[in-house]
Amino acid sequence: MFAEKACSLIKELSRCEEGLPPYNIELVKEVCTEIKQLHEQNKEDGAIVANESEIAGNVNPLYPTLRIGSAAVKRNIRCLLAYHYNRLRTLRTMRWQFGSILPPDIKTNLSSDEIDWFSKYSSCLGKYMRSIGEDGLNLCLDLRPPKSLYIEVKCLIDYGKFELSDGTVLLLKKDSRHYLPRSECEELITQGVFHHIV
């Protein structure tokens, strides 16, 4: 059946909610080959159909074949584009949620082009955020208005030393509790280092 492989790419994606499956370079290549073959065939058939209909003025028996062939090409292309497009979307969300450095096990699932795209996107975003206001604004943080400037947090992992913007250094150990300025914690909370205690 046509476009079977392309569809299995999409299935791979849909199975992996919120995460990214490894970039399936082999399958992508195979789909490309299928497209090329179909395209060649269509070109041949197309030439025949075009020639003969000019002469005979009626429909060539190859016309349905050509239509099915071209539908298959379109379908393949759609799957392939959707595969890449949706991966990039997830990747973009990851930039907002994980920050500019991705966990290594996620990074191994990316193609080199995707890594490239990620770092470009990341630097674009960084540049934009720096340009807001006088000394920049981190848009990745929680956008709800704070109830208080300081919050209590619980550390979820052994993080090691962490320096606050005023130079004080904290040792973050698993299950230790801290009371800190909210602005210093927000990023570590989104990254899952801290748990906010209410």
């Binding site: 150990k173 698993k174 299950d175 230790s176």
Partner: protein, 559 residues
């Protein structure tokens, strides 16, 4: 030194600074910590909390953080040891200590600046005078120098011999006196006023107290009562003071209190473990108070419960139901009918005055319920949980909106109560409580059910009180009530260590404990490796193989 004015010397002093809280792993400390946290939050004082179980933890936490922090607050730890000697801190580090363990180390009391105690000096503590225990060696030499300068050189040489002898003699006497004073001072270990009550009063002085904080102070006080850390009279005194606060705050209630209908009620409670959350039958059976008075571990005692229930007019089926599901009438009369019969069944003093926290229309907890729940979280959780995790859970348990945590903990507390009872019953049935002359002892074997639970300080304390009282009530030996008890529980099976606890005899009304010194001396005498880095020195960790020799040494010492 003692901090004179909490507001200026502590609270205002720390404003804008970062502090490191070292909190001992017990209920009082958790309550005190929670009150302190809310105070620190008002002034936006940044803090980090670390959990401390033993001296070793204190040292490690200090070393890990000393580079970055200058101010340390120690709750219920560190008061009884010489902080400067143990931690060797740099000059500028400052330690604030609020510790209910007694006696406070004299070096901490007479420290000029580095160690600041947040407690008040106690009159009955008999702290030795500064001059009796500290003497500046160089100063005394200078004195003699200046003396001799006035006189001729020749005479000086002659008199030097005499003087030296006199001096040495004086030194020796002084030394002896010093040792005697120090021994007398540190002979007994005991608990003073709960740190959380201190903290609450400080909050009150800062006008930052509210009902939630009061409740924490109440919990801490109730904990001291339940674990027998303070005398009953002391409990009554403190309770009256808290009751006054309670009435005052009730009148001061604000809008949010009306919304959540938060109330602290002053009420009579029964010495029955968790009866509001259990069945009457179980609660009667597994509470230490009733178990000892009615000797419930015997067949006769078991019958007596049923007799009591019949006398109270409480059908057996009802008594086996959850207290909440009992008939309303029976539930209402439960308290009074039990009181009426208390004399007949030897259950005098089954009532004690306590507090109840009520908020909304479905949450109602006695102070003692919460204490049992907390202790179940801290000491009866699965072994793979780290103390920090449990500490956090206990903190959460004290927040009002975490009902599930409390309810889970109460279920766990029931298991603790059952297993305490069964262990005691077993110990009596198998005659495992052994008289060693000057004391009795009981060894919890490794294979024993729930031994892990008993290797924690507070549950072990409950067990030891239960065992000793049960032993005394069953013993035909008239002197039984004058004997102290030692219990040994395996601590670390891989290393082959066990933890010992010693408690004073039943006849003593005061919970002052002499085992700290006795353990120390016994360990010194037999030269065995012992780990006495508990802040409460009536616990000690030794190798199980040394235990027999250790008991021998103790027996010799106490004879």
């Amino acid at each position: 030194m003692f901090v004179e004015d909490f507001k200026t010397d502590f609270y205002e002093f720390l404003a804008g600074k970062r502090v490191f809280l070292m909190v001992h792993y017990d209920i009082d400390s958790i309550c005190a910590c929670k009150i302190l946290q809310s105070l620190l939050k008002y002034r936006n004082i940044l803090y980090t909390v670390a959990v401390i179980q033993r001296l070793e933890d204190l040292k490690r936490a200090y070393v890990e953080n000393c580079e970055d922090v200058q101010y340390f607050i120690l709750l219920n730890c560190g008061g009884t040891i010489d902080i400067v000697e143990e931690l060797e801190p740099e000059e500028e580090k400052v330690f604030f200590i609020l510790d209910s363990h007694r006696p406070i180390d004299v070096c901490n009391i007479y420290s000029t600046d580095q160690v600041r105690l947040l407690t008040r000096p106690e009159e009955d503590a008999l702290v030795p005078e500064f001059n009796d225990i500290f003497r500046d060696q160089s100063e005394s030499e200078n004195e003699s120098d200046s003396d001799s300068d006035n006189e001729g050189r020749a005479s000086k040489r002659r008199r030097l011999g005499e003087e030296a002898i006199l001096k040495r003699r004086e030194n020796r006497l002084w030394e002896e006196n010093r040792n005697k004073l120090l021994f007398e001072y540190s002979q007994f270990t005991y608990y003073a006023r709960a740190s959380a009550i201190f903290m609450f009063e400080y909050a009150w002085k800062l006008n930052k107290e509210d009902k939630d904080l009061l409740w924490l102070a109440i919990i801490a006080l109730t904990e001291q009562l339940i674990f027998g850390k303070i005398e009953h009279t002391q409990y009554i005194l403190e309770m009256e003071a808290l009751r006054a606060h309670c009435t005052r705050l009730q009148h001061k209630s604000n809008d949010t209190d009306v919304l959540t209908s938060l109330k602290i009620l002053f009420e009579k409670d029964l010495r029955l473990t968790l009866y509001r959350h259990w069945t009457v039958e179980h609660s009667l059976k597994y509470s230490m108070f009733t178990a000892i008075r009615m000797k419930l571990w015997t067949l006769k005692g078991d019958k007596k419960i049923h007799e009591l229930l019949a006398d109270m007019g409480l059908p057996l089926a009802q008594s086996r139901q959850h207290f909440k599901s009992m008939d309303l009438q029976l539930r209402k009369e439960f308290h009074s009918s039990l009181e009426k019969l208390s004399e007949k069944y030897g259950l005098q003093d089954i009532e004690f005055t306590s507090f109840i926290l009520q908020y909304g229309y479905q949450h109602k907890y006695c102070a003692s319920d919460i204490v049992f729940a907390l202790i179940a979280i801290l000491e009866a959780s699965p072994r793979d949980k780290k103390p920090e995790e449990l500490f956090n859970l206990a903190l959460d348990c004290l927040s009002r909106n975490k009902k599930e945590i409390i309810d889970n903990a109460i279920e766990k507390a029931k298991i603790v109560a059952k297993s305490l009872f069964k262990t005691v019953q077993n110990a009596l049935d198998m005659k495992q409580i052994i008289n060693a002359g000057p004391f009795v002892y009981y060894i919890v074997q490794e294979g024993c059910l729930d031994w892990y639970m008993f290797s924690h300080q507070h549950i072990l304390l409950l067990l030891s009180q239960f065992v000793l009282k049960a032993y005394v009530s069953m013993s035909r030996n008239k002197k039984a009530s004058t004997l102290p008890l030692i219990i040994s529980v395996p601590k670390n099976i891989e290393n082959g260590t066990c933890i010992l606890i010693g408690i004073p005899p039943v006849c003593e009304t005061s919970p002052r404990n002499f085992f700290g010194k006795a353990f120390e001396q016994a360990a010194e005498k037999m030269n065995c490796e012992a780990n006495c880095d508990y802040f409460d020195t009536s616990y000690i960790e030794i190798y199980s193989k040394d235990r027999t020799r250790f008991f021998d040494a103790l027996a010799a010492l106490l004879n």
